[in-house]
Symmetry: C2
Subunit: 463 residues, 2 copies
Amino acid sequence: MQTVEVKQLYRESEKYLNQDVRVSGWVRTVRSSKAFGFIELNDGTFFKNLQIVFDEKLENFKEVEKLPISSSITVEGKLVETPGAKQPFEVQATKIIIEGMSSSDYPLQKKRHTFEYLRTIAHLRPRSNTFSAVFRVRSVAAFAIHKFFQERGFVYVNTPIITGSDCEGAGEMFRVTTLDLNNIPRKEDGSIDFSEDFFGREANLTVSGQLEAEIFALAYKKVYTFGPTFRAENSNTARHASEFWMIEPEMAFADLNDYMDTAEDMVKYIISYVLENAPEEMEFFNNFIDNTLLDRLNNVLNSEFARITYTEAIDLLKKSGKEFQYPVEWGCDLQTEHERYITEEIFKKPVFVTNYPKDIKAFYMRLNDDGKTVAAADLLVPGVGEIIGGSQREERYDVLVRRIEELGMRKEDYWWYLELRKYGETKHAGYGLGFERMIMYLTGMGNIRDVIPFPRTPGNCEF
Amino acid sequence: MQTVEVKQLYRESEKYLNQDVRVSGWVRTVRSSKAFGFIELNDGTFFKNLQIVFDEKLENFKEVEKLPISSSITVEGKLVETPGAKQPFEVQATKIIIEGMSSSDYPLQKKRHTFEYLRTIAHLRPRSNTFSAVFRVRSVAAFAIHKFFQERGFVYVNTPIITGSDCEGAGEMFRVTTLDLNNIPRKEDGSIDFSEDFFGREANLTVSGQLEAEIFALAYKKVYTFGPTFRAENSNTARHASEFWMIEPEMAFADLNDYMDTAEDMVKYIISYVLENAPEEMEFFNNFIDNTLLDRLNNVLNSEFARITYTEAIDLLKKSGKEFQYPVEWGCDLQTEHERYITEEIFKKPVFVTNYPKDIKAFYMRLNDDGKTVAAADLLVPGVGEIIGGSQREERYDVLVRRIEELGMRKEDYWWYLELRKYGETKHAGYGLGFERMIMYLTGMGNIRDVIPFPRTPGNCEF
């Protein structure tokens, strides 16, 4: 008898039809009448369940028909077609071995639960339809990203998580320490003696791997990171988490257009790959989470992304006659309402907005010849707003030094970053994609806490 | 004129021979005589350099012949074969554009540097032959791991980096905090008030994602993690880092043999994939780092890994007549010298040692029927010793509780881990592979600091 997985049965049913198979999984439901019953079995390898039919001939019929939800069992029987029924086939059980009887107080009973409640049982929620779909899509999308970059010759680089520099300024940082908080070492002047700390200095969790990725781009030409990043900001929104994963590609001999071309290809690649490799999950999201989802994603696949300058964007917003909560003026940062209006109402497809005022962007972005704007570009997508931010990097040593000094930053802190501009610098560009934002976009899930297996937010680090 | 990468030229030279091409990269060396010269150009896409020939006809001949090492240039010219020469082809330059002139104090001059020195210039060392090879192999191996598991239907899960539990006991932990160390909040009894900290409790960096991976294995059947883990141990060895990446697969409906089968397949898959996809780098390591490397890896590919019990291993070690620094007795933990003797001298191939005494293994490992040993297995490989550790997990609620109590641990801390045993528990197994150990094994590099882009060790977190 062949031991099989439910995915194999769905994907290659002809190979197994009318044969005896053995399959293990967890009971999602049991229904039974006097002489026979049905089990919906999920084995985790596939979104859909396998229907098991059993009858009184089973030795343990009485036990099986009372199996609590989520019990684990191994079933032996013949796989037969069920023409006209909801499911394409079922297993007629000849034997059901109970591996682990679940307790009858299993919290994930058939009735619907709120996502809020399910967060409190993060150890069980991957067994529900929604979260089973979310976290499989997350896995498929992660692989799509690696595949996209590896196929194009990008080198994957693990930039450091613990960092001694707080240079990037992308956000508040968490301190990493082994100091005894009850007995903090002091210097003579009373200040804390961080030379006694584990790394001999203050250390934090990284907010971005970009600056280190640039190091590798200037050696390998094309690289990408894919790792966790952190923000110690006390923001309790549906879009912010304290711990999240980022993808930060970086390319040498590349300018702003090269970044936009790569990012557009990447977004389309991820969407195609997920639609192809998790079709059942995507259909579920379209049916139960957001019924515009598949239309929206297919529209992205078939669009050429628009590209407009920030200045054009401001003009379009002003001319729109629309009343925004945040007024629009050249020089202001675009708010989500502006971003969504541009991509949803004006273009109805993804839009790159380029050449932002330098004062609202980071120090490392390349100064344009106008002296006022930088070669940055954000990608805005319908339904979300900004999903990618990137720029050409300032490769000119003198210009970069001037910018660092202008902003009152300490040049010494950037010694190695500046040396990259001294030893064979070239134009280069890169961007950052928040992985969870992408998963929200792909699934229609509205809260970042529901696309992270064990989310960390202010006040929350259970599990 | 086609813009090409050096990798394309090497892999598909017939497509480009006798054609005009444009290629950008960094100068590794320049040699010139009166009327002509040679540049070794590396563009980061390929381990080997591209030879550029140039002569006086170049407008900027005088500048080009004096180019400092690591300058970035764009070359245009014809690709021609060079029969009988060291390199298979060269580009006869018609134009050389200097993108970024390097400074003449570039630290990576042609002479050999020690690995210790190169660690101090981690922003430049990826441009050296050795580190260029190391970090490309690291990237290729990372993808091999994702590919292996994805092809087999494993779901990739991002277990949390910041954790509120210090349950796993795998090692010393780093504290993560946003408390102001100059003004630590206190409760009335004088103890620190961690309810004021960011997560409302004490938080640390994870030492392992295993317990959370088990959650996902009991939903998806087969899962794997691949992420950073941390140890705050003050150990300055060549094999320990404070921050390193781990792969932790976990499988439901699986026992110790299933784990060993999967791990053996995985190790062979990684080796094959790297030999196939980074052949130039692997040849380099074999020539310059460890000339037994390729033999050793090929031997692994062609071996069936041995499997012996711990008790058998102790017997073999005792009978060997060999004097060990640490004496061998049933009950003792195997030291590297023992492990290497078993795999290098006795079996001359990889060996799984199974069923260790429970007292030297973790609480979650499944107790064998003898009551003395657990269903654990470590994989020992020649040249390194232990490279993988894993076990069948204790799935029996009562046995697990007893073990937790026996060890004086607090049952409440494991509430969700225990609940997994209450709601559809089944036999399951998993293992951990230290990614850097694997890279050391694949490259022959002897120090973990030299296989991590920006290593973190006690006293070190520069870059």
